[in-house]
Symmetry: C2
Subunit: 326 residues, 2 copies
């Protein structure tokens, strides 16, 4: 299996990207095609033992910055993102992975790979640690406005992803709304409720914001507006609370001692919330495996994003979505 | 000033409701009309020193349960909620306060008091501790679907509430969206952005979910769907994280000792997140001061909800909204 990695993706590029690729090539026995500035990539590769690993480089003269407008995807045809996507399109790679600008990555995937036939709108997902498991939340921003049919297709693709990639046997699907009871929500949400309910999916009804970390469902389906609000509110709340506790502890000498003693408990929390364990989340509905990680990814996160891509390829995710539409 | 308190509101009714009323009557020198089961209210009053306080009782034979459908507002005309609203309608009280079923309370206020002339849709707000201040988030569930004009009116009412009741000099107004940049969001949000921008309000642009606890704005305006998702995601995330830390600490003897030493730091967090300090949030746009608190309110929360009502009356909030519409 060959994975095309945009080596110029992460905030600290290409160091974590290249190190993660080295780790993934060794651990999973994959070919990782490193797409980006050849000199910079070679300098990073020289820092690691790459004996016996297959890490070809495809040089690109430019890249798309984290803050650049999505239009850069069209104007910078030879940017690392676009070239990595092209490798998938031309069947020179089985999947595309990047830690870069997620708006640009989605656009590059959609423009370069197209939609799976029958899919109305691709969706961008987040994988969130929830209870002892994970929940797949989609869409988190690709589609601010949706139709009931789009939400149904998000449910279908989310169910397939949870099954094929996350390893959930019979994924429980919930629909994000402003109340648990059937009949809550906008007209679009209520119509989507009816559509999903009459499908073969394992639909468990509406989810609310409070369910996000409760392992309430395996997949939560939303329009990209409320889904974006949900995931950012969760991240913001967690970060703010942890900062606040740290600040309050630092004010008090005895509390500092206490925090040292309690450190293993906090480390457990940190581990649970550690994005690097998850690695990346998919763009579902484009005609090629596309996995996007956080800009602030470290090497472990890059490695795990590559693992996610590997599972999607091994699980024939694209084929399963095509079949699911029939 | 006279406040009509639904004494049968809180989960532990009427004990915290009555005790909170006693505290408020003494601290603020108000008349609190206790609406509910006379015998139960008298039994609670007997537990407190009420010498010199004005705490008349209006007996009602029935009440609306926390889990009852909102239709109960129409079928139970003599429920404590409806009777308390009626006292405001008939100018026998200056404000209506309840810890009860918030859907029913909103419906009772809307049916019993009507809308302020010119207001398209009333909105239900939440007051959230944010940084060293508070943020007013509205709507959090009264209107799953909105028009740009509704969002503009929410911004206007929120600005007036933040000024008159929360004491903010020139409230900063933000619009909830799926990105900070102008142009992000649904068509409705983008049109609302233009409307609010050209108004005299102190508009600072779009807010994202991650801003909720960051004192980014004094007022965040949203439709009732995304606003509901936001407030519930925040509450759910905070509760889950705190539970998780507690569970992990309990697993480790040294961490238990550490947690004891760090307790003052956690108490500071608890204080900051303590709903009882806030008391209640308004239904804005109905033609009467209406304050709704959490079902799980204690006496302090009830007292503070009454204080919120007092400030709204003293600040001539309703008059300010009427004037703001001109």
């Amino acid at each position: 299996m060959k994975i095309a990695l945009d080596a110029m993706g992460s905030d600290a590029r290409p160091a974590p990207d290249v190190e993660g690729a080295v780790m993934a090539a060794r651990e999973f026995g994959l070919t990782i095609i490193l797409v980006g500035d050849e000199n910079k990539i070679k300098a990073e590769l020289a820092k690691h033992n790459t004996t016996g690993l297959d890490l070809p480089i495809v040089h690109t003269p430019t890249e798309i910055e984290m803050t650049e407008h999505v239009d850069a995807v069209k104007s910078k045809k030879d940017a690392s993102l676009n070239v990595a996507v092209k490798l998938v399109k031309q069947n020179q790679a089985d999947a595309f992975v990047t830690m870069g600008n997620s708006g640009a990555a989605m656009a590059a995937a959609l423009l370069g790979l197209g939609r799976i036939k029958g899919i109305e709108r691709p969706a961008f997902a987040a994988v969130i640690p929830s209870g002892d498991a994970h929940v797949l939340l989609l869409d988190i921003g690709a589609n601010a406005e949706v139709k009931p049919e789009y939400l149904y297709q998000f449910a279908l693709m989310g169910s397939i992803y949870a099954n094929k990639v996350m390893g959930v046997a019979n994924p429980r699907i919930a629909l994000l709304s402003n109340g648990e009871e059937e009949g809550k929500g906008t007209l679009v949400v209520r119509d989507a409720f009816a559509l999903i309910k009459q499908s073969k999916l394992n639909f468990i009804g509406n989810a609310e914001g409070r369910h996000i970390l409760r392992a309430f469902a395996d997949v939560i389906v939303s329009d990209g507006f409320a889904g974006n609000v949900m995931v950012k509110t969760m991240e913001g709340t967690a970060e703010t609370l942890i900062e606040f506790i740290k600040t309050e502890i630092k004010k008090r000498p005895l509390a500092v001692l206490g925090a040292l003693l309690a450190k293993p408990a906090f480390d457990a929390l940190k581990h649970r919330l550690d994005y690097a364990e998850i690695g990346g989340a998919p763009v579902l509905g484009v005609d090629g495996v596309t996995i996007i990680g956080h800009g602030r990814s470290n090497a472990k996160a890059v490695k795990n994003a590559i693992r996610v891509a590997k599972r999607a390829v091994e699980g024939n995710m694209l084929e399963a979505i095509r079949n699911g539409l029939q």
